[in-house]
């Protein structure tokens, strides 16, 4: 929670004109946000576009930002909205569940991953990426918002327009599938 407060304070300082605060804020969130977007849009070029659009919206909204919710929650909401806009524009969100072939191709397209990575010492991570790519989109979004974005179940429900129980259920199914894919390498709760 302190981390969240620190981010919120940095955002407020940036809104007040402190450019260095933004640099720090960006450094703290760039990698997580990029991964989140990368795993949702699953296209390298699109990831860059959505990532930049997301930060542009953050910058443009700086004067309207109020620390009522955690900064990360706000940031990942914006990111999720940017992803949905991207899907709408590219009209690729016709199906909610990706086929195994699509998911494998997308996971293989990720940096430092793919079949060779799976065969390496990083096999568990590779399997996780594949399993994540195979998840139904609603479950993947819920899982990523929870893990990468740090959103609570209620915040995920609000962001995705679902009920709290639905959001909780999606998370539960997502974790079950990922654990199944990872076997003994799955993290313990």
């Amino acid at each position: 929670m302190e981390e969240r407060d620190a981010d919120a304070q940095l955002m407020l300082r940036y809104a007040a004109g402190d450019a260095h605060a933004f640099e720090e804020l960006y450094a703290r969130n760039r990698a997580g946000l990029w991964r989140f977007i990368r795993r949702l849009v699953r296209d390298a070029a699109a990831t860059d576009d959505v990532f930049q659009e997301c930060w542009s919206r953050v910058i443009g909204s700086r004067e309207r930002y109020r620390p009522t919710a955690g900064f990360t929650t706000w940031l990942y909401r914006i990111a999720h909205n940017c992803c949905m806009d991207h899907w709408r524009k590219s009209a690729r969100r016709a199906v909610h569940e990706t086929t195994d072939d699509d998911a494998i191709a997308a996971a293989a397209d990720e940096p430092a991953s793919g079949p060779s990575a799976i065969a390496d010492h990083d096999e568990a991570r590779g399997r996780l990426k594949l399993a994540l790519a195979r998840l139904p989109e609603d479950q993947r979004v819920a899982f990523l918002l929870y893990v990468e974005g740090g959103l609570s179940v209620a915040e995920i429900a609000e962001q995705t327009g679902a009920g709290v129980e639905t959001a909780k259920s999606r998370l539960r199914y997502a974790v079950a599938r990922l654990k199944e894919a990872l076997g003994n390498d799955a993290p313990l709760d």
Binding site: A19, A31, F51, I59, E110, D122, L128, V147, S152, L188
Partner: protein, 216 residues
């Protein structure tokens, strides 16, 4: 909300597993985002400074113009008393006052109303001692005009008006002069009225007594 609802499972191990090698934005992307953030702050400064600097320039220009007008003795600092201080006609003929009394028609020879603004009033108030002194020094030359306490533009007090006032003071009849003195007294400018009256008496000895006899 139930805390259990917020932590259905521990997210940290999953985050570590996902995040270790999943890539990151390029340095070029970092530069683009950071420069955009920097640029976004720049216009705010511009928005604030541009109108402020314009306003400051305008104010400075106005102050310089006013200062120059004041320095050159132009109307900006001319008080009403100064305007009214003008040489009175020198009576060379003893019969002139009487003749003038008969022919003069004060109503048609009133000077144009002096345009007074609040600014001018405040200046008059601050310059009151100076005005009194200048009036006394004026000795036999100063002549008051009816005070028209009307709001108006300060620019109306021009050099042209000054000349008009001077010519009026020189050409007015004893009746007009006396009426001006009374107007000064009515306006509460007693000292000026007394000074004017003294000058009037020296210019037209005995006229006032005759006038009072005729108009008790």
């Amino acid at each position: 909300m139930d805390p259990k609802d917020e932590q259905p499972f521990n997210r940290e191990p999953w985050r570590r597993l996902l995040g270790a090698d999943s890539g990151a934005p390029t340095q070029d992307m970092d530069r683009r985002v950071l420069s955009e953030a920097q640029r976004a702050l720049t216009p705010r400064v511009g928005r604030w400074w541009l109108p402020a600097s314009l306003a400051a320039s305008l104010l400075l220009a106005v102050l310089i113009v006013q200062w120059q007008l004041a320095d050159s003795g132009a109307p900006a600092h001319v008080t009403e008393s100064d305007v009214m201080s003008a040489p009175a006609p020198i009576a060379t003929d003893e019969a002139a006052p009487a003749a003038a009394m008969e022919s003069a028609n004060p109503a048609t020879k009133l000077p144009p109303p002096l345009m007074d603004s609040p600014t001018l009033d405040s200046r008059r108030a601050s310059a009151a001692p100076e005005v009194a002194q200048s009036t006394a020094d004026a000795a036999a030359t100063a002549a008051p005009a009816p005070v028209q306490e009307q709001a108006g533009a300060e620019s109306a007090v021009t050099a042209g008006m000054l000349k008009e006032k001077e010519s009026y003071a020189e050409s007015r009849t004893p009746e007009e002069w006396y009426a001006d003195i009374e107007a000064l007294r009515t306006a509460g400018r007693i000292k000026e009225a007394d000074a004017e009256l003294a000058r009037f008496k020296s210019e037209y000895p005995g006229w006032l007594e005759r006038h009072q006899q005729q108009n008790p």
